[in-house]
Structures are given as structure tokens and as C-alpha cells.
């Protein structure tokens, strides 16, 4: 059957009288059941070329084992995580780089090292001094990230540690005449002492109490430094620390030298980050995430000790950086303690994403670029930074480097929700429902029934309804006949029936209960004067129910 304009109906009973020509009559057009069958049975998932995943390059050839075997000193890490396997479909030998981050890191370093060559001469001074600041701030932020991300202590006093070390070392250098290379070491000692003092309350206080407390520490330091005469309240900072730059250098080489020195400092901080976060302490702390501390403790993880250890090590490193700060800038300024510095550096962490080293470095690069290079913008640049920070916090869960994961989580959630909401009324059974059903035939019956109803829905047209209205009983077109056969075949529960109140005068539609001894229920108030009208009303109800499913 096709949906050609006017299909012809041939009376099947005429085969009994082959001598006569068959009776023919025009009938209603309808869509063939074959169409629905083909559409339902069609294979819909999108297929990809055999043997290759999208977006994921597979290197050809052997050699996975080789990468697996080589490790670098002093750790026992591999250079690259490379997996070698046979493609099960093409039987081709393939290598997969499981973790591409080392490659990005190395490319980034190369760019940083070669960067000064491409800086335009006009803005050389601005950009290079900003780049040196970037190196130092990135180092500080990496250590801070250890405290916030790895140890989970929400301390805002990292810059206070740096500032204390910078002030202390400058003061000692002026008083005792220390050589420049002593300053970072002395700074590390100061940082350790400072870390001990502010780290102790962290054992008892949680979360915000500690954050607010450290904010108080920062404010305390600032007020003290601003008021104290021996720390240079008059000159707006304490200056006079020895510089590590040879005095004979000119302006440009000095900047270049300073830049590479701070880059080396950043490498040092990265090494510290890697050695704490990637090794035992980091793993212990990853077992005790927020709100599951009690469970970790019950498993024998001494997470408080680990946290304090991380805090102290980072504070020592921060002190070291403070000493470097003093010899780089020739002293210390109260700016280190200002609320704005805390804010800006928190913006650096947040923009990149808390808990990852690449986040700290990239966030620092963005913020320092806006802060130090786009000086022409004036106060607007702080607003720009604040706006970026606000946008990141409002829309991203884990900063810029968490976008990929957040997107995937969101997509998976949407997919699974759509799948869960998709099942239609009376449609196929979902897995959850199917496991609960004792009679497994029901699963296949429902699948078949759904397909049949999809087909029957397409048969309902105005002509078919009009045909039924004019002639509820008797010979019907194929479309109407199929519909009526389906309706007749339904079970007794809630099946519509016609109740005769008074013959040839009043008919009413009821629904059978399906249980012996339980009376049918009335479904509507209207009375029909003739049986034909009642038949048609009942047909319309059934059609409506069919279309609703």
C-alpha cells in the first residue's frame, strides 16, 4: 500500500466468482506499515571510520615498552605516559600518549625562554619587568596553591609570609651586611618560623574561620609595617638589600638577567609543587578531601599532620621566595601586605583553577599581563581583572583548566537525564523497569506494541474519522479496519463500552472495570440518542487515547 492519491479497493470476495470482473472502489489513502517498520528498525547511531577514535591521534608503530622503561633521575617517573596496543579492528600497531601535559609544559618553557627575542623594543622595559614579576608571582602562587589546593587550608596569608621574609632579610642585610646569596636562605628560616606561628591555629580552625583569621594577620602586618619606623614608614618601604645582579651590567642585560633568574625561581617552585603534590604527602591528602576527613582518619590517614607538613614546607619555600624578592627589588614594600595584593593573587589562582599547577601559572600570566602591561587602562584594569574573576567564579567550577571536565560532566548529565526522561507513556520499558518485571515477554510485547501504535497513529486522518462517522458498522477502508481491529483487541481493564439506558433513545459510554463483580464506571455525562452516534463517540475517545500515548 502506498499513499498515492486514490488507492483502489478490490473486493476480496470476488475471487469466488472469477468469471466476473472484480468489484473496485476508491478508498482512503494511508501510509504503508512497512514505512513505520523500516523507521523503527533503522540503525540510528552515528558510526565512525573503523579503527580510529575522533580527536585522538594514534601514533603508528611499536615502542610503547621503550617509553615505559625509561625513567628520569631523581624520581622514578617516566618521561611520557605512552601506551602501546594493537588496534583490535585493523590489527595495526598503535601508540597513545595518555597524558599530554608534559609536552605542553615543555612547549611553554621554550616559549618563555625564547620570549624576550620577540618583545618589541618600544615596550621592552615594561614587558620585561612585568615578565620578571610574573616569574616571582607564579612561584609564590604555586606555593600558595600547595596550601590551598593540596593541603586544603584556606590561608590568605601567603603574601604575608613572603612580605615578612622580605622585610626580615632586608632588615638583617642592612644591619649585618649579609651577602646577597644569604638572603633567600635566611628568608627560608624566617618563613618557617612565620609558618609555624600562623600554621598552629590551622590545626583547630576550619575553613572560613581560618581564612578570616589569616586576613586579620595580613592586615596586622600591614598596619605594623606602615607605622613602624625601623621598617621604613617614612620612605614607603624598606630598601637597601644587596642585589644579585652584577653592577657592571647595562639596563637591558639587567632586565634580561632578572627575567631568567625569576624564571629559574618559578622552576624551583614548580619542582617543590611536583615533589609535594605528586608524591606521598599529596597522595595522603588526596585521600582526605573536604568533608571526608573523618573517614580518612578512620582509615589511618593522619591528614592533620600531612596538612601541617605541607603548610610548613610551603611556608619555607615562600620565605625563600621572599628573600629572592628582597634581592630582586632591593628591598620590600608594604604593598605586599595590602588587601589588593591578596585580592589580585587570589584572582590569579581562581582564574587558572584551584588545585592545579598549570592553573597557577596561567592565571598569574593573565593577571600580571593585565596589571603590568596594560598600564594605560588605569583603574579600569583592576575592574577588568575583577570582572574576569567574577565571570570565572560564576560560570566555571574549576577555573579555566577545568572547562573541559566541566563541559563533559554537563554533557553526560544532560545525556543521561534525556535518556531517563525520554520513555513515553506506554512505550518501551526502561532497563530499571524491565528488571522489575517478572514476565519478560512483556518487554518484547511492549516494544512491538509501541511500534504498532506508531504505525496506527499515522493512519488516523480526517477522512478515516469522517468515514467512521458516516458508517460506524459495515465494510470499511483498510486504514479504518486496522484501527478498529486494534481497538477491539485491547484488554478488558478500562476498555470503553456502550451502556444502553433505554433502547434507541439513550446510550452512554462507560469503562469496564476488568474485574468480575465490579461495575463499569461512567466516563462522561453526555447521552447519545442513537447507537451510531454512541459508536462514533466511543471511537473518537479511543482514537484520542491512541494519539495521546
Amino acid at each position: 500500500m502506498t499513499d498515492t492519491a486514490q488507492p483502489i479497493w478490490i473486493d476480496p470476495t470476488d475471487c469466488l466468482y472469477p468469471e466476473n470482473a472484480a468489484r473496485e472502489a476508491p478508498t482512503n489513502p494511508h501510509l504503508s506499515h512497512q514505512t513505520t517498520w523500516n523507521e523503527t528498525r533503522a540503525f540510528k547511531p552515528r558510526m565512525h571510520p573503523v579503527g580510529r577514535l575522533r580527536y585522538y591521534y594514534k601514533w603508528p608503530g611499536h615502542g610503547g615498552r621503550l617509553w615505559w622503561r625509561k625513567r628520569y633521575w631523581p624520581t622514578r617517573r617516566r618521561f611520557l605516559q605512552i601506551r602501546g596496543e594493537y588496534n583490535p579492528k585493523t590489527m595495526r600497531r598503535e601508540k597513545t600518549i595518555v597524558d599530554k601535559r608534559p609536552i605542553w609544559w615543555i612547549l611553554g618553557f621554550i616559549a618563555l625562554v625564547l620570549g624576550p627575542a620577540v618583545v618589541p623594543a618600544a615596550s621592552w622595559n615594561t614587558v620585561m619587568s612585568a615578565a620578571a614579576v610574573f616569574g616571582i608571582y607564579a612561584a609564590i602562587n604555586l606555593c600558595w596553591m600547595l596550601i590551598i589546593g593540596t593541603a586544603g587550608i584556606f590561608s590568605l596569608a601567603s603574601y604575608a609570609v613572603v612580605g615578612a621574609a622580605a622585610y626580615g632579610t632586608t632588615y638583617l642585610a642592612i644591619q649585618l651586611g649579609l651577602p646577597w646569596w644569604m638572603l633567600p636562605l635566611v628568608g627560608a628560616a624566617i618563613g618557617l618560623a612565620f609558618g609555624l606561628i600562623i600554621g598552629l591555629p590551622a590545626m583547630r580552625l576550619d575553613g572560613f574561620y581560618y581564612a578570616l583569621l589569616t586576613l586579620g594577620v595580613v592586615e596586622l602586618c600591614r598596619v605594623y609595617v606602615v607605622q613602624s619606623r625601623e621598617f621604613g614608614s617614612a620612605t614607603g618601604g624598606l630598601y637597601g638589600a644587596p642585589s644579585y645582579l652584577p653592577a657592571s651590567l647595562g639596563q637591558m642585560p639587567r632586565l634580561l638577567f632578572g627575567y631568567y633568574a625569576s624564571l629559574a625561581l618559578m622552576l624551583f617552585a614548580l619542582a617543590v609543587y611536583r615533589f609535594i603534590d605528586g608524591r606521598r604527602l599529596g597522595r595522603v591528602l588526596r585521600m582526605a578531601p573536604e568533608k571526608r576527613e573523618a573517614f580518612a582518619q578512620a582509615c589511618g590517614v593522619d591528614f592533620i599532620r600531612a596538612r601541617i607538613m605541607v603548610f610548613l614546607i610551603s611556608s619555607t619555600a615562600l620565605g625563600f621566595i621572599g628573600g629572592f624578592y628582597a634581592i630582586h627589588f632591593g628591598g620590600a614594600s608594604p604593598n605586599l601586605f595590602s588587601f589588593d595584593t591578596v585580592l589580585l593573587s587570589l584572582a590569579m589562582l581562581v582564574i587558572g583553577g584551584i588545585g592545579r599547577s598549570e592553573g597557577a601559572v596561567a592565571g598569574t600570566a593573565i593577571v600580571v599581563f593585565i596589571d603590568r602591561v596594560l598600564i594605560d587602562l588605569g583603574p579600569l584594569r583592576y575592574m577588568l581583572i575583577g570582572a574576569i574573576m567574577l565571570a570565572v567564579v560564576l560560570f566555571l567550577r574549576e577555573g579555566l583548566f577545568g572547562i573541559k571536565r566541566q563541559f563533559r560532566t554537563w554533557r553526560d548529565k544532560k545525556k543521561s537525564e534525556r535518556r531517563a526522561t525520554r520513555a513515553e507513556k506506554g512505550g518501551e520499558m526502561l532497563p530499571e523497569e524491565a528488571t522489575e518485571t517478572a514476565d519478560k515477554d512483556q518487554i518484547f510485547f511492549r516494544r512491538f506494541d509501541k511500534m504498532q501504535r506508531d504505525f496506527l497513529k499515522r493512519l488516523v486522518t480526517d477522512t478515516v474519522i469522517e468515514e467512521h462517522r458516516t458508517r460506524p458498522l459495515g465494510q470499511h477502508s483498510e486504514a479504518l479496519e486496522r484501527l478498529l481491529i486494534y481497538f477491539r483487541r485491547q484488554g478488558q481493564v478500562d476498555k470503553y463500552a456502550i451502556m444502553v439506558l433505554e433502547e434507541f433513545k439513550a446510550y452512554r459510554i462507560v469503562a469496564l472495570s476488568g474485574h468480575r463483580g465490579t461495575a463499569p464506571r461512567v466516563v462522561e455525562d453526555s447521552l447519545y440518542p442513537t447507537p451510531d452516534e454512541a459508536y462514533h463517540a466511543l471511537f473518537l475517545r479511543r482514537v484520542q487515547d491512541l494519539l495521546e500515548t
Binding site: D206, L212, L220, L343, Y382, L390
Partner: protein
């Protein structure tokens, strides 16, 4: 240096900082939001009051109302930006903290950009006369500041105790989920609470501007003080905040008399550490045990 002068000074400061601390405390406990943009709201309402005194008139009522209204407006801004979009998202407390910090950064810079770095001074609200209370000479602005802070705080506390909205806010403090089941809209209550706490900041700003000036960054020190008082009192507890304010005020008075002004922050900090080491949840932990259940 005489005792009574320092004491009266400390009580005035305690009243003003206590107002701020109660604002911070209320925000935290009912919305779960540490409002670091409080300093910005403080400075903003100072400027609002200043603009009103320039453009409309320098009557005390106008200036004060302008400050309070601007504060409420600032609170609404913070609510719209940092509470409404993320309040039912994961990791809300930390994200909200950072969002309010970002608002504070943007807002303070905007104030600096628009009004310039020069400090503005508000007209004197309470005139200049002296009162003699039990032999202590108190200047008018101190008396006025303490009195208006105490009156407004008492009014707010009474309102919270007895009215339907107060019950709503307190219910949100205890259990936001149950509050929504009872029929309390979390977002709407958020607006009320932020407007209320913002107006508290506005009041404190106008009062503090009697002694200090209005400047783009003038809000940060008061905010840190308010935070420390809220901490000592225990976040979320109004009686705790009052006790904390008195404690900090007394400490300030005693230190500056006995040791000297530059040691105030150090002793205050040590006091906070000692209190928090003894009671990690602040003084309020001592006051009502039912909260911890």
C-alpha cells in the same frame, strides 16, 4: 591619657564595629555567604551619604537615610551578583567568597575611578556639644553614634524576634532546606537579608565617618575588624557578636592606655587566636548548645 576618654572612645567603636559584625554574621548564617564585599558596601554608602549631603541637604536625617539606603542598594547588588546565580550550585561557600572578593575589587576601583583618591568628609550629624555622664565628658558625636547604633540594633533584634520576616530569616539560618518546605523563598529572603545587612553597613559607615573620612578604600579596615568580631563571637550568633564587640572594644581601650596605640592590633589578634583556640566556633558556642546539635 585619661581612662574615661579612652573607654568612651572604645565603646563608640565597639558599637560601630558591632553593627558591622552583626551584618557579617547575619549574612553568613542565613545565606551561607561570607560577604567580603562589605568593605565596598561600607565605602559606597559613605559616598552615597556624601552625595546626599552635597546635593540635597546636610540635615542629619537626610544624610543618615541616604547612607542606609545606599548600603541597602549595595547589599542588593552583591546579592544579585554573588548569591542568586550560584546559591544552589556545588561548592557555593568558596565560590561566593571569591565572588564577593571580586565585587569588592571591582567596586573599590570603580569608586576610586569615579570619585578620585581624595577623601571626603561628611557634615557633623550630632552637632558639637558635650555631655557629662557620671563625671565622664562625652562628645556629641560619640554619644550620638553609640546611641543610634544601639537603638537601630535593638530595633532590628526585636524585629527579628517577633515578626514574620524575622522568623523567616531565623528559619533560613537554621535549615534552608526545611525553610523552603515551609514556604520560605530562599532567593527572596536573600534579598531581604542582604538589604538589611547592607543598610547596617551604611549606618556604620555614616557613623564612622564622623571621626574618619570617606575614601575609596576606607571600608577595608572596618570590614576586617567586623570580621574579627564576628569570628570571636561565633559566625551566625547575634549575642555572640555583641559580646565580641564589647570584648574587642575593651581590649582596644586597655591596650592603648597601658601599652600604646601601635600594639592594639597585636593584642587584638592574640585575643582572637586565644578565643578561637579555646572555642573553635567562637563565643557563641558557649552561649547556646542547641545550635551544635
Amino acid at each position: 591619657m585619661n581612662w574615661s576618654f579612652v573607654l568612651s572612645n572604645a565603646i563608640t567603636l565597639a558599637c560601630i564595629y558591632g553593627t558591622l559584625a552583626i551584618g557579617i554574621s547575619l549574612t553568613w548564617s542565613s545565606l551561607g555567604l561570607v560577604n567580603m564585599a562589605f568593605g565596598f558596601i561600607f565605602a559606597l554608602s559613605g559616598y552615597g551619604a556624601w552625595l546626599a549631603s552635597i546635593n540635597i541637604g546636610a540635615q542629619p536625617a537626610i544624610v543618615m537615610a541616604a547612607g542606609i539606603l545606599t548600603g541597602a542598594f549595595g547589599g542588593l547588588i552583591v546579592c544579585l551578583l554573588a548569591f542568586i546565580p550560584i546559591h544552589d550550585k556545588p561548592n557555593f561557600p568558596l565560590r561566593a567568597l571569591i565572588a564577593t572578593l571580586a565585587i569588592s575589587l571591582i567596586g573599590n576601583q570603580a569608586l576610586l575611578w569615579y570619585f578620585g583618591p581624595r577623601a571626603k568628609s561628611l557634615p557633623r550629624l550630632f552637632g558639637s556639644w558635650n555631655a557629662d555622664i557620671f563625671g565622664v565628658i562625652v562628645t556629641s558625636d560619640k554619644l550620638g553614634a553609640s546611641a543610634s547604633a544601639i537603638v537601630l540594633l535593638t530595633l532590628i533584634l526585636l524585629w527579628m524576634r517577633s515578626s514574620r520576616r524575622g522568623l523567616e530569616i531565623r528559619a533560613m539560618m537554621m535549615n534552608p532546606h526545611a525553610a523552603s518546605i515551609v514556604g520560605i523563598g530562599v532567593r527572596r529572603t536573600g534579598f531581604y537579608v542582604m538589604a538589611l545587612t547592607g543598610s547596617l553597613a551604611g549606618l556604620a559607615s555614616v557613623l564612622l565617618a564622623q571621626t574618619y573620612y570617606v575614601a575609596p578604600f576606607s571600608g577595608i579596615t572596618p570590614m576586617v575588624k567586623g570580621l574579627s568580631i564576628a569570628l570571636v563571637g561565633g559566625l551566625g550568633s547575634v549575642p555572640g557578636a555583641v559580646i565580641g564587640a564589647v570584648l574587642i572594644g575593651l581590649n582596644e581601650a586597655l591596650t592603648s592606655t597601658l601599652l600604646g596605640g601601635q600594639y592594639v592590633l597585636i593584642t587584638q589578634f592574640l585575643l582572637i587566636i586565644v578565643v578561637l583556640l579555646v572555642r573553635p566556633r567562637g563565643i557563641a558556642g558557649l552561649l547556646d548548645k542547641a545550635r551544635e546539635a
